[in-house]
């Protein structure tokens, strides 16, 4: 709190790069590069690698309230692999991956393409309006949707009743997964749309002119030129969404207070790990679950990337 204003502090990088310049003049770039990257590496090691290593270390112990901690090798991992709660959570995020991610990305792509044609009236406003949900904190978004979903007094239920229909129970155990998917889509369509739209803007317009001369319509241009041109951006959004679905946590954690029994303690693997750590007080087992989940995400991301790389080689 009593720290000097940051401006007056000498950045550590300057001192080290100065001494580096004196000792070796041959490859100043190399040292400049190191000097620039070292602050990052320090933070990366302290805030990421060390905790990760520590979590890995913790996951090889078994702790009991009575009996304390004993080294148990991979016992926590084999326990997780036999844990129906872990698999149930994985099943739900897999549903997310195969249902929510395609829907979300197709809608985002469609809007991006529509905006890119320049035919949408008030395009700037539409772009902003669709992007705004991403700027709303996930906590607020979930609470807001929670109110809309409410069975007795929620807006959706009221609308159904106003036209004389039975209100849907959007927070029931059968529907909660769909309701969560809706919240996540609402939050991230805008984000993905902006990424794709930005990529579309950087496609050289000559290609469109050429297509037009060849007699391609708007749909044909979109399918054969625009989408292939922005494939790297699409891949990026897919990878981010895959990782995002596996890390599902905020939404179910917040919906828990509104629909506790529909969410339960193992809705997603992350939520399960959290509950295991802080409610069951089993930090070691939680670390194992988190590690296992990390491995799965790595494998799946790798598979997705491999699949695209092959496609690119083929085309």
């Amino acid at each position: 709190m009593s720290a000097a204003p940051p401006l007056r502090r000498t950045p550590p990088s300057r001192a080290s790069s100065a001494s580096a310049r004196r000792s070796t003049i041959r490859r100043p770039q190399l040292f400049a590069a190191w000097a620039l990257i070292v602050p990052f590496l320090i933070v990366f090691a302290a805030m990421f690698l060390v905790p990760l290593g520590y979590a890995g270390y913790l996951s090889t112990f078994t702790s009991q309230l009575v009996g304390g901690e004993v080294f148990s090798g991979l016992a926590n991992y084999s326990r997780a692999l036999q844990d129906p709660s872990f698999w149930a959570g994985l099943g739900r995020v897999a549903m997310f991956l195969f249902v929510q991610v395609p829907i979300m990305l197709v809608i985002a792509l469609f809007i991006a393409l529509a905006l890119d044609t320049g035919r949408v009236k008030g395009g700037k406003f539409v772009r902003l309006a669709i992007f705004v949900p991403y700027a709303v904190p996930g906590v607020v978004a979930t609470l807001m949707w929670g109110y809309l979903y409410g069975t007795d007094s929620g807006l959706i239920a009221q609308l159904f009743r106003a036209v004389g229909l039975d209100a849907p129970t959007l927070l029931s155990p059968q529907n909660i997964l769909g309701s969560t998917m809706n919240i996540v889509s609402w939050e991230f369509i805008g984000y993905n749309m902006i990424v794709l739209y930005a990529a579309l803007r950087s496609v050289p317009t000559e290609m469109y002119e050429a297509a037009e001369i060849d007699g391609a319509g708007a749909w044909r241009t979109a399918w054969s030129i625009k989408i292939p041109a922005i494939r790297p951006a699409i891949m990026l959004t897919i990878i981010f969404s895959v990782i995002g679905s596996f890390q599902l946590f905020n939404e179910p954690n917040l919906l828990y207070s509104i629909a506790p029994n529909a969410i339960g303690s193992d809705f997603s693997p992350n939520l399960y790990a959290y509950n295991v750590a802080f409610k069951n007080q089993d930090i070691n087992y939680a670390a194992a679950i988190a590690f296992l989940l990390g491995f799965l995400i790595m494998i799946i991301s790798y598979v997705v990337q491999l699949a695209t790389a092959r496609k690119e080689r083929l085309s």
Partner: protein, 451 residues
């Protein structure tokens, strides 16, 4: 394991001792964390209370500064820093983390009764016996005292409690042609049908997310689902004749659509009270004031009554909620911390302020019988002296109800088993068995001996 703990204790005592030697303190000012030692003398207490000290106090009671001010006025040398790190289940993980880290834990922390055994099990609570803990016994209601003390020690000082009663909408009852609250659960069931037929309201709501309430109802039915010997042995009897009786009773009402199963303490539930959806709430002594803030538009329409009985003519209740202030192991000022907790929850002015300003239901017999407390007439309840009624209920709570040293798990697994069955209107009886099995499996996995 024993060896390791022993080594750790030795290390800690060595560390404490060397700190004391190095800083030139007398041992009476600190040390003896957890272990029972000889009683602290009045001279030691006087000395400690005149030594400038700062205590850290974790609590989530709103406006508690006014009681803390009373303490600081009496002991000007002691400063108390009040920190609110979150309510109940939010605070405990933080407290455990601080205890594990070995620093950052408060001197005194608010702990609900059902979580005391879990902090005892990790040796995180200072036994208050050497600090005059035993002398407190006569000041408190018997069942409350048994929540904080056993034959091995005094682990905390009771702050508030929640004996169960029944708050009901007298207007809905009379619209259904009923003149009084149900005296027995059998009456409750027949009233439920009448109320639903005549007014369309549910007689009550049984939430699937609130183990506290259903455990309170078990307590009232005479069940003893948990026991803990303070060491390694636990008893788990969640699936007993008494609990099955309670569960089957509510199952019947839920199946007939006479009781709703909404999750409680959220917006939809609050609106259920103001929109006449629920005609009554079987709640704790803290419920009356809570309801007042939640369903202000129904003021004057409510009446407080005793909880319905399983056997006509009986007068027994259970408890739901309440908390205590415990001295946390590792404190450098155990005397001041113990005196603070004792003052906060024992001093006549402090406890009366808790009762009348923060509406914490009292635990001391003095406050429970004080006319300043019981004499208050409440407009929300049509001028009824609600405190007087609940003060009477407090004497009827069964005195030997215990908890397990891992209630966090017990409650979270409730949500996945019995709670889900309640919310889904599914088979609650087999879900109760599933809850029992889950808790037993956890206890064994954690190394406890299950009786």
């Amino acid at each position: 394991m024993m060896k390791r703990t022993h080594a750790a204790t030795t290390l800690v005592s060595l560390a404490v001792a060397s700190t004391l030697i190095l800083s030139g303190c007398t041992p009476s000012a600190g040390g003896n964390a957890g272990s029972t030692t000889a009683p602290v003398s009045q001279a030691d207490i006087d000395k400690a209370m005149q030594t400038p000290t700062t205590l850290t106090f974790w609590t989530w009671v709103p406006d508690i500064q006014q009681e803390v001010d009373l303490f600081e006025a009496k002991y000007p040398a002691i400063k108390v820093e009040v920190v609110n790190v979150g309510t109940g289940t939010v605070q405990y993980p933080k407290l455990r983390t601080a205890l594990k880290a070995g620093k950052g834990a408060p001197d005194v922390a608010q702990i609900e009764y059902q979580y005391i055994p879990s902090f005892r099990q990790t040796n995180s609570l200072v036994n208050l016996q050497p600090y005059g803990g035993d002398e407190l016994k006569s000041k408190y209601v018997e069942w409350v005292w048994n929540q904080v003390a056993d034959d091995k020690g005094v682990w905390s000082v009771p702050q508030d409690s929640g004996p169960l009663g029944n708050l009901y909408r007298s207007d809905i009852y009379s619209a259904a042609g009923l003149s009084q609250a149900p005296a027995t659960w059998a009456d409750f069931a027949s009233d439920a049908q009448t109320i639903k037929d005549k007014t369309g309201s549910y007689i009550s709501n049984l939430p699937g997310n609130d183990p506290g309430q259903i455990v309170g109802l078990f307590w009232q039915a005479g069940a003893k689902p948990f026991s803990y010997d303070g060491d390694k042995t636990v008893g788990i009897d969640l699936d007993s004749a008494a609990t099955q009786k309670v569960v089957k009773f509510w199952q019947d009402l839920i199946d007939k659509d006479l009781v709703s199963t909404d999750a409680d303490f959220n917006d939809a539930w609050y609106q259920g009270f103001s929109s006449d959806k629920y005609a009554s709430w079987q709640t704790a002594a803290w419920g009356p004031v809570f309801l007042q803030g939640t369903a202000a538009n129904t003021s004057g329409k409510w009446t407080a009554a005793k909880i319905p009985q399983w056997n006509a003519g009986d007068d027994v209740s259970g408890n739901w909620g309440g908390s205590s202030d415990a001295v946390i192991t590792g404190t450098k000022n155990p005397i001041a911390a113990a005196e603070f907790s004792k003052f906060l929850n024992g001093d006549a002015e402090s406890t009366l302020t808790f009762a009348n300003k923060q509406f914490l239901f009292p635990t001391t017999t003095d406050t429970l019988t004080s006319s300043d407390f019981t004499g208050q007439a409440s407009e929300f309840y049509g001028g009824q002296k609600v405190n007087e009624l609940f003060a009477g209920v407090s004497d009827t709570v069964s005195t030997d109800f215990q908890w397990l040293p891992f209630m966090d798990y017990v409650y979270s697994s409730f949500n996945d088993t019995l709670g889900t069955a309640i919310a889904d209107k599914a088979d609650m009886s087999s879900a109760l068995t599933a809850w029992q099995d889950a808790v037993v499996a956890y206890a064994k996995q954690q190394g406890f001996t299950v009786k």
